[in-house]
Protein backbone atom coordinates (compact mmCIF):
# COMPACT_ATOMS: atom_id res chain seq x y z
CA UNK A 1 0.00 0.00 0.00
CA UNK A 2 1.31 3.44 -0.85
CA UNK A 3 1.86 6.20 1.67
CA UNK A 4 1.48 9.95 1.02
CA UNK A 5 4.40 12.34 0.59
CA UNK A 6 4.82 14.99 3.29
CA UNK A 7 4.65 18.68 2.32
CA UNK A 8 8.42 18.83 2.90
CA UNK A 9 8.98 15.91 0.53
CA UNK A 10 6.81 17.55 -2.13
CA UNK A 11 8.65 20.87 -1.72
CA UNK A 12 12.07 19.24 -2.23
CA UNK A 13 10.90 17.00 -5.09
CA UNK A 14 9.31 19.98 -6.89
CA UNK A 15 12.59 21.93 -6.95
CA UNK A 16 15.32 21.30 -9.54
CA UNK A 17 17.01 18.73 -7.30
CA UNK A 18 18.41 15.49 -8.63
CA UNK A 19 16.98 12.26 -7.32
CA UNK A 20 19.29 9.29 -6.87
CA UNK A 21 17.33 6.16 -7.70
CA UNK A 22 18.49 2.76 -6.52
CA UNK A 23 17.51 -0.46 -8.27
CA UNK A 24 18.47 -4.13 -7.90
CA UNK A 25 20.77 -5.92 -10.35
CA UNK A 26 20.16 -9.48 -11.55
CA UNK A 27 22.56 -10.84 -8.90
CA UNK A 28 20.69 -8.97 -6.14
CA UNK A 29 23.33 -6.25 -5.71
CA UNK A 30 22.33 -2.59 -5.72
CA UNK A 31 22.82 0.08 -8.39
CA UNK A 32 22.15 3.82 -8.15
CA UNK A 33 22.07 6.68 -10.64
CA UNK A 34 21.13 10.37 -10.68
CA UNK A 35 17.86 11.15 -12.47
CA UNK A 36 15.43 13.99 -13.12
CA UNK A 37 12.09 13.52 -11.38
CA UNK A 38 8.72 15.17 -11.33
CA UNK A 39 5.61 14.57 -9.31
CA UNK A 40 2.00 13.64 -10.00
CA UNK A 41 0.18 13.91 -6.68
CA UNK A 42 1.84 11.47 -4.31
CA UNK A 43 3.57 9.58 -7.13
CA UNK A 44 7.17 10.26 -8.10
CA UNK A 45 7.84 10.11 -11.84
CA UNK A 46 11.21 9.33 -13.42
CA UNK A 47 11.77 10.12 -17.09
CA UNK A 48 14.73 8.27 -18.57
CA UNK A 49 16.08 6.50 -21.66
CA UNK A 50 14.93 2.91 -22.24
CA UNK A 51 18.44 1.64 -22.85
CA UNK A 52 19.64 1.86 -19.29
CA UNK A 53 20.68 -0.63 -16.64
CA UNK A 54 17.90 0.60 -14.36
CA UNK A 55 15.27 -0.16 -17.00
CA UNK A 56 16.30 -3.81 -17.13
CA UNK A 57 16.50 -3.92 -13.35
CA UNK A 58 13.05 -2.38 -12.79
CA UNK A 59 11.44 -4.81 -15.23
CA UNK A 60 12.86 -7.70 -13.22
CA UNK A 61 12.33 -6.22 -9.75
CA UNK A 62 10.12 -3.12 -9.28
CA UNK A 63 11.46 -2.32 -5.80
CA UNK A 64 13.33 0.99 -5.81
CA UNK A 65 14.60 3.59 -3.37
CA UNK A 66 15.15 7.32 -3.88
CA UNK A 67 17.28 9.87 -2.08
CA UNK A 68 16.86 13.58 -2.78
CA UNK A 69 18.81 16.36 -1.11
CA UNK A 70 17.80 19.98 -1.53
CA UNK A 71 20.70 21.81 -3.15
CA UNK A 72 20.21 24.76 -0.74
CA UNK A 73 19.91 22.64 2.40
CA UNK A 74 20.98 19.02 1.87
CA UNK A 75 19.93 17.72 5.30
CA UNK A 76 17.42 16.49 6.20
CA UNK A 77 16.91 14.78 2.84
CA UNK A 78 13.94 13.00 1.32
CA UNK A 79 14.32 9.23 1.51
CA UNK A 80 11.76 7.04 -0.18
CA UNK A 81 11.40 3.30 -0.51
CA UNK A 82 8.76 2.07 -2.88
CA UNK A 83 7.79 0.30 -6.06
CA UNK A 84 7.43 1.12 -9.72
CA UNK A 85 3.67 0.68 -10.22
CA UNK A 86 3.48 1.76 -13.86
CA UNK A 87 5.88 1.79 -16.80
CA UNK A 88 4.81 4.44 -19.32
CA UNK A 89 6.05 4.14 -22.90
CA UNK A 90 5.51 5.71 -26.31
CA UNK A 91 4.07 9.20 -26.80
CA UNK A 92 3.07 9.43 -23.12
CA UNK A 93 6.74 8.89 -22.22
CA UNK A 94 7.74 11.73 -24.57
CA UNK A 95 5.18 13.94 -22.76
CA UNK A 96 6.93 13.02 -19.51
CA UNK A 97 10.26 13.97 -21.06
CA UNK A 98 8.85 17.38 -22.04
CA UNK A 99 7.39 17.90 -18.55
CA UNK A 100 10.65 17.04 -16.78
CA UNK A 101 12.79 19.07 -19.20
CA UNK A 102 10.62 22.14 -18.61
CA UNK A 103 10.90 21.61 -14.86
CA UNK A 104 14.71 21.44 -14.86
CA UNK A 105 15.66 23.80 -17.70
CA UNK A 106 12.72 26.21 -17.67
CA UNK A 107 12.10 25.74 -21.40
CA UNK A 108 10.75 23.29 -23.96
CA UNK A 109 13.22 20.65 -25.16
CA UNK A 110 15.15 21.73 -28.28
CA UNK A 111 13.99 18.56 -30.01
CA UNK A 112 11.82 15.61 -29.14
CA UNK A 113 13.36 12.15 -28.79
CA UNK A 114 11.89 9.14 -30.65
CA UNK A 115 9.03 7.68 -28.61
CA UNK A 116 10.74 4.29 -28.70
CA UNK A 117 13.72 5.70 -26.79
CA UNK A 118 11.88 7.04 -23.75
CA UNK A 119 10.24 5.59 -20.67
CA UNK A 120 8.61 7.03 -17.55
CA UNK A 121 8.38 5.14 -14.25
CA UNK A 122 5.62 5.92 -11.81
CA UNK A 123 6.76 5.21 -8.27
CA UNK A 124 4.48 4.69 -5.31
CA UNK A 125 6.14 5.23 -1.93
CA UNK A 126 5.88 2.58 0.80
CA UNK A 127 8.08 4.47 3.24
CA UNK A 128 8.92 8.18 3.30
CA UNK A 129 11.43 9.90 5.58
CA UNK A 130 11.41 13.66 4.89
CA UNK A 131 10.92 17.04 6.53
CA UNK A 132 7.31 17.69 7.57
CA UNK A 133 7.21 21.15 5.94
Amino acid sequence: MGVPLSDGAKRIIDKKNFAHVATIMKDGSPQVSPVWVYRHGDDIMISTGVDRVKTRNIQRDPRVALSISDIDQPFPPVQVRGRVVEIIRGEAAVEGFVEVTKKYTGSEPAQLPPAADRVVYRIEADSVVAPEK
Binding site: H20, V21, A22, P30, Q31, V32, A65, S69, Q79
Partner: protein
Protein backbone atom coordinates in the same frame (compact mmCIF):
# COMPACT_ATOMS: atom_id res chain seq x y z
CA UNK B 1 38.26 -6.97 -8.13
CA UNK B 2 38.92 -3.49 -6.76
CA UNK B 3 39.09 -0.75 -9.38
CA UNK B 4 41.38 2.25 -8.92
CA UNK B 5 39.61 5.54 -9.64
CA UNK B 6 40.90 7.92 -12.30
CA UNK B 7 42.10 11.41 -11.39
CA UNK B 8 38.79 12.96 -12.55
CA UNK B 9 36.72 10.43 -10.58
CA UNK B 10 38.87 11.02 -7.54
CA UNK B 11 38.52 14.81 -7.87
CA UNK B 12 34.74 14.46 -7.85
CA UNK B 13 34.95 12.63 -4.50
CA UNK B 14 37.50 15.04 -3.06
CA UNK B 15 35.26 18.05 -3.76
CA UNK B 16 32.42 18.55 -1.23
CA UNK B 17 29.83 16.67 -3.30
CA UNK B 18 27.32 14.47 -1.49
CA UNK B 19 27.24 10.78 -2.33
CA UNK B 20 24.00 8.83 -2.31
CA UNK B 21 24.76 5.47 -0.77
CA UNK B 22 22.72 2.29 -1.18
CA UNK B 23 22.57 -0.72 1.10
CA UNK B 24 20.26 -3.72 0.97
CA UNK B 25 17.40 -4.29 3.41
CA UNK B 26 16.67 -7.73 4.85
CA UNK B 27 14.16 -8.44 2.07
CA UNK B 28 16.73 -7.53 -0.61
CA UNK B 29 15.15 -4.18 -1.45
CA UNK B 30 17.34 -1.07 -1.67
CA UNK B 31 17.71 1.76 0.83
CA UNK B 32 19.54 4.96 -0.17
CA UNK B 33 20.73 7.95 1.86
CA UNK B 34 22.98 10.95 1.22
CA UNK B 35 26.37 10.70 2.91
CA UNK B 36 29.68 12.54 3.16
CA UNK B 37 32.55 10.65 1.52
CA UNK B 38 36.23 10.73 0.78
CA UNK B 39 38.77 8.47 -0.92
CA UNK B 40 41.94 7.01 0.60
CA UNK B 41 43.52 5.99 -2.71
CA UNK B 42 41.98 2.48 -2.57
CA UNK B 43 38.64 2.71 -0.78
CA UNK B 44 35.77 5.15 -0.73
CA UNK B 45 35.20 5.98 2.94
CA UNK B 46 31.74 6.51 4.43
CA UNK B 47 31.28 7.48 8.08
CA UNK B 48 28.24 6.35 10.05
CA UNK B 49 27.34 5.24 13.57
CA UNK B 50 26.80 1.81 15.09
CA UNK B 51 23.18 0.77 15.34
CA UNK B 52 21.96 2.62 12.27
CA UNK B 53 20.20 0.97 9.33
CA UNK B 54 23.27 1.05 7.07
CA UNK B 55 25.59 -1.01 9.33
CA UNK B 56 22.74 -3.39 10.17
CA UNK B 57 22.18 -3.96 6.45
CA UNK B 58 25.91 -4.32 5.77
CA UNK B 59 26.33 -6.99 8.44
CA UNK B 60 23.96 -9.13 6.33
CA UNK B 61 25.09 -8.11 2.84
CA UNK B 62 28.20 -6.00 2.14
CA UNK B 63 27.17 -5.09 -1.42
CA UNK B 64 26.67 -1.36 -1.91
CA UNK B 65 26.40 1.29 -4.60
CA UNK B 66 26.80 5.04 -4.67
CA UNK B 67 26.34 7.93 -7.05
CA UNK B 68 27.80 11.43 -6.91
CA UNK B 69 26.84 14.45 -9.02
CA UNK B 70 29.26 17.37 -9.44
CA UNK B 71 27.50 20.26 -7.67
CA UNK B 72 29.11 22.69 -10.12
CA UNK B 73 28.25 20.75 -13.28
CA UNK B 74 25.26 18.39 -13.10
CA UNK B 75 26.27 16.68 -16.33
CA UNK B 76 29.31 15.22 -14.57
CA UNK B 77 28.59 12.28 -12.32
CA UNK B 78 30.09 9.10 -10.98
CA UNK B 79 28.40 5.77 -10.30
CA UNK B 80 30.09 3.05 -8.27
CA UNK B 81 29.12 -0.50 -7.39
CA UNK B 82 31.20 -2.39 -4.89
CA UNK B 83 31.33 -3.86 -1.43
CA UNK B 84 32.24 -2.85 2.08
CA UNK B 85 35.45 -4.74 2.86
CA UNK B 86 36.12 -3.30 6.32
CA UNK B 87 34.19 -1.61 9.11
CA UNK B 88 36.33 0.07 11.77
CA UNK B 89 35.98 2.34 14.82
CA UNK B 90 39.65 3.27 14.53
CA UNK B 91 40.08 6.93 13.62
CA UNK B 92 36.34 7.31 13.00
CA UNK B 93 35.91 10.50 15.10
CA UNK B 94 38.92 12.13 13.42
CA UNK B 95 37.46 11.08 10.09
CA UNK B 96 33.97 12.53 10.73
CA UNK B 97 35.56 15.81 11.82
CA UNK B 98 37.68 15.84 8.68
CA UNK B 99 34.51 15.31 6.63
CA UNK B 100 32.71 18.05 8.59
CA UNK B 101 35.49 20.50 7.72
CA UNK B 102 35.36 19.43 4.08
CA UNK B 103 31.58 19.77 3.74
CA UNK B 104 30.73 22.46 6.30
CA UNK B 105 33.86 24.63 6.51
CA UNK B 106 37.28 24.72 8.21
CA UNK B 107 36.02 25.63 11.69
CA UNK B 108 33.39 22.92 11.89
CA UNK B 109 33.35 20.13 14.46
CA UNK B 110 30.93 17.27 14.19
CA UNK B 111 28.49 17.39 17.14
CA UNK B 112 29.24 14.58 19.59
CA UNK B 113 26.23 12.73 20.90
CA UNK B 114 26.44 10.75 24.15
CA UNK B 115 26.94 7.06 23.49
CA UNK B 116 27.39 7.43 19.75
CA UNK B 117 30.02 5.09 18.33
CA UNK B 118 31.27 6.33 14.96
CA UNK B 119 32.50 3.83 12.36
CA UNK B 120 34.20 4.07 8.98
CA UNK B 121 32.87 1.90 6.16
CA UNK B 122 35.58 1.12 3.60
CA UNK B 123 34.06 0.54 0.17
CA UNK B 124 36.08 -1.29 -2.48
CA UNK B 125 34.86 0.01 -5.88
CA UNK B 126 34.28 -2.88 -8.31
CA UNK B 127 32.35 -1.28 -11.18
CA UNK B 128 32.79 2.39 -11.93
CA UNK B 129 30.99 4.41 -14.59
CA UNK B 130 29.57 7.86 -15.09
CA UNK B 131 29.63 10.81 -17.36
CA UNK B 132 32.33 13.43 -17.86
CA UNK B 133 34.69 11.80 -15.36
Amino acid sequence: MTVTLTAAQRALLEAPNLAHFVTLMKDGSPQVTPVWVDYDGTHILVNTAEGRQKPRNLARDPRVALSVVDAGDPYRYLQVRGRVVEVTREGAWDHINRLARKYRGPDTRYPERPGEVRIILKVAPEHVSGRGV
